[in-house]
């Protein structure tokens, strides 16, 4: 048996039971939502017996009931707090509280940016596949998000900060964004997922679909920084047009369990995907980054670098699959995963995978798990830094080396603010 029947899981059951009462209040086509729910029920929640989930279990969804969240809750933050949570200098902010747009906390949305709730987006099966029933669940229950259309040749200078706040114990929040870039267009989007109440157990299930036109460039950052008891699943389904570029940064610094997935495919030759990620865990946090890149066209390039720093009893997971189809010659794909274990009880699992069916390609992958480098520590200590100062500086550099690969200063700043905060926190 590969999956748990949906009805056996209390969270799945709570969703199924809530559907009929909710569907009329949700945007878009109700029949498509019903279909999505049917797909979800048929697949059930993934278990560790599904290859894609062998390092990450969703037991937390059966230990506690998570039901679709009420659209609005009390205790909203102030506008100043929103900017601090987002941390993206000069951004246009769109704020969603438990999955519903909050106009009073948001900036005026520029032309081309609409709300999912007003755009009647029909849920499709985009991104769904083996082990991906959470995407079908999202399609059935997605309440809001942004739908962005950037016209051909338009380059949006201001970054867009999508702030998703979840709160209320047992709340499940399903959001979806759709981003479409015309040819030669450019856009920077940052999703920030944070908690309204750091202690509450919430389940956020966020999906972003992006279609990048020819020669267009999308920078997409996801920051998962929810409270200690939160569960977080996000999925980015991305298609890259001819000569287009997708630059992604997935950061995990919060939550009890976080899984961030990237599913990238090249829809035409000559595209570039740069996928970066960092997971900084301590306590008993579980952080999973799973990426899948499909090279179905010749002459595309992928650069992947994911770094983990795991303290306490934290568990980090990296799974990366790069598939190169037989005709995808001149593919240049490099994938690397590095893990630092800062305590002897921390665990890192790495599963880098290349499936190369084409000749004339340049592909490499590798994963390491280790401690801070003794030579580096000695070098710093021999200049007068205490062991603690040396360790902190090396850790900062470890993360900085990754953030430094981003060209977009505002996005780099938002990520750095989060990683600096993590590095500055005392060990529990």
């Amino acid at each position: 048996m590969m999956t748990t029947p949906a009805t056996d899981n209390p969270t799945a059951r709570a969703h199924a039971e809530a559907f009929a009462g909710l569907v009329s209040s949700l945007p878009g086509d109700a029949t498509a939502r019903q279909d999505a729910l049917t797909r979800f029920k048929a697949a059930g929640l993934p278990t560790r017996r599904v290859e894609e989930w062998k390092f990450t279990g969703l037991d937390a969804l059966s230990r506690k009931v998570f039901a679709p969240a009420a659209p609005a809750i009390t205790g909203s933050p102030s506008r100043a707090q929103i900017e601090a949570i987002a941390g993206v200098p000069g951004a246009i902010h769109a704020v969603f509280i438990n999955g519903s747009f909050d106009a009073s906390l948001s900036d005026a949305l520029p032309a081309g940016v609409a709300l999912l709730s007003g755009a009647s987006v029909t849920p499709t099966a985009t991104g769904e596949g083996r082990g991906q029933s959470l995407i079908a669940l999202n399609a059935a229950f997605m309440r809001d998000g942004v739908v962005i259309d950037v016209a051909d040749g338009a380059r949006i200078e201001q970054p867009l900060a999508l702030v998703f706040l979840a709160g209320g114990d047992g709340a499940a929040v399903h959001t979806r964004n759709v981003v479409r870039l015309g040819s030669g267009a450019a856009l920077q989007v940052v999703e920030i997922h944070a908690s309204l109440n750091a202690a509450g157990a919430t389940f956020s299930n966020a999906v972003t679909e992006a279609v990048i036109g020819a020669g267009a460039r999308l920078t997409h950052a996801r920051i998962a920084a929810e409270g200690k008891s939160a569960l977080h699943h996000s999925h980015a389904a991305v298609s890259i047009g001819e000569g287009g570029e997708y630059v992604s940064f997935a950061l995990s610094v919060g939550g009890e369990l976080t899984r961030q997935e990237s599913d990238v495919r090249f829809a035409a030759p000559g595209g570039t995907a740069r996928l970066y990620g960092a997971y900084l865990g301590r306590g008993r946090q579980h952080m999973d980054h799973t990426t899948r890149v499909r090279h179905d066209h010749p002459g595309c390039a992928t650069e992947e670098l994911f770094k983990g720093a795991l303290d306490g009893e934290a568990h980090g997971v990296f799974q990366g699959l790069i598939h190169v189809a037989p005709h995808a010659i001149k593919t240049d794909a490099r994938q690397r995963n590095v893990n630092l274990l800062l305590s002897d009880r921390a665990v890192a699992d790495a599963k880098p995978e290349l499936e190369i069916l084409a000749d004339d390609v340049k592909c490499s992958h590798g994963a390491t798990v280790g401690d801070l480098d003794a030579d580096e520590i000695f070098y710093l200590r021999a200049r007068g830094l205490s062991p603690d100062a040396a360790r902190r500086l090396l850790l900062t550099g470890y993360v900085e080396d990754l953030i430094g690969r981003l060209d977009d200063a505002a996005i780099a700043a938002a990520i750095k603010a989060r990683t600096d905060a993590w590095l500055g926190e005392e060990q529990p």
């Binding site: 007068g384 830094l385 205490s386 062991p387 900062t396």
Partner: protein, 254 residues
């Protein structure tokens, strides 16, 4: 005259293997002594033992720095007390700007000595002035420590760090290797500018070429884990002509 460094009958092992087998060496304040010797004779080992590297264990003898037993001091305490090692192979630190590291190092020492820390402005001013004397571009401040530096640039950067940190005892481990003649002159001038009556240096080198530019007060030859010969600067020329092969175990006065 006081001695900055007194090494007596030093025996040391590296991961259990004895490399130093009774080293005696006295370095008075204000002097520069050179240590020469064939590859594998233990020169870098001596420098690491002095700097306090883990895995380098003193099994007999003692090292006194300004009269104080080094055995009880950790590597970083030694550095803050004024011991500086210019590495034979400087280490690359990705993601850490040279200036960030160096400022932390400079201020760790100043704090330990009870001196006020350098603020960003003063640090930058002093850095830029010193970089100029070492013929280094200011961009080396912002670049990650040693990452992508050429061999020569790494060695210059070590001397830059030394000039900023202003140690009492500087140990230069093969700072000349990898330098072309022009770079050697610049680096030597930088080292010579730091010569004063309170600062002593141990200049480790394989070739006498460096000693034409940094003229030592004394030269010691390390072979087989011992100082086998000591003398004035003329010893370097002798070695240049005859090589290390002719050296026996007999010690002249250190």
């Amino acid at each position: 005259m006081t001695n900055i460094l007194e090494i007596r009958n030093l025996h040391a092992t590296v991961h259990g293997k004895e490399i130093l087998k009774g080293v005696d060496l006295v370095l008075p304040a204000g002097e520069i002594h050179a240590i020469m010797g064939p590859n594998g004779s233990g020169k870098s080992t001596l420098s690491y033992v002095l700097a306090g590297r883990d895995g380098y264990e003193v099994t007999a003898g003692e090292i006194l720095y300004k009269g104080q037993d080094l055995a009880v001091m950790e590597a970083d305490e030694r550095a803050r007390a004024g011991i500086f090692l210019a590495f034979q192979y400087p280490v690359e630190i990705p993601g850490v700007a040279n200036s960030v590291f160096l400022k932390a190092a400079v201020n760790a020492g100043r704090k330990a000595r009870g001196e006020p820390e350098l603020d960003a402005m003063d640090f930058l001013k002093k850095s830029k002035a010193l970089l100029k004397t070492l013929d280094m571009d200011e961009k080396f401040l912002n670049r990650p420590v040693n990452v992508g530096f050429s061999g020569g640039e790494k060695k210059r950067n070590e001397i830059f760090h030394m000039a900023m940190i202003e140690p009492s005892l500087a140990i230069l481990d093969e700072t000349d290797s990898g330098l072309d003649i022009d770079a050697l002159k610049v680096v030597s001038a930088g080292v010579n500018a730091l010569r004063n009556e309170n600062r002593s240096m141990l200049v480790i080198t394989h070739y006498q070429r460096l000693l034409e530019h940094i003229v030592p007060d004394r030269i010691h030859v390390l072979a087989g884990g011992r100082i086998v010969s000591s003398g004035g600067k003329e010893l370097a020329l002798e070695l240049e002509q005859n090589g290390y092969a002719g050296l026996t175990g007999d010690k002249s006065a250190a």
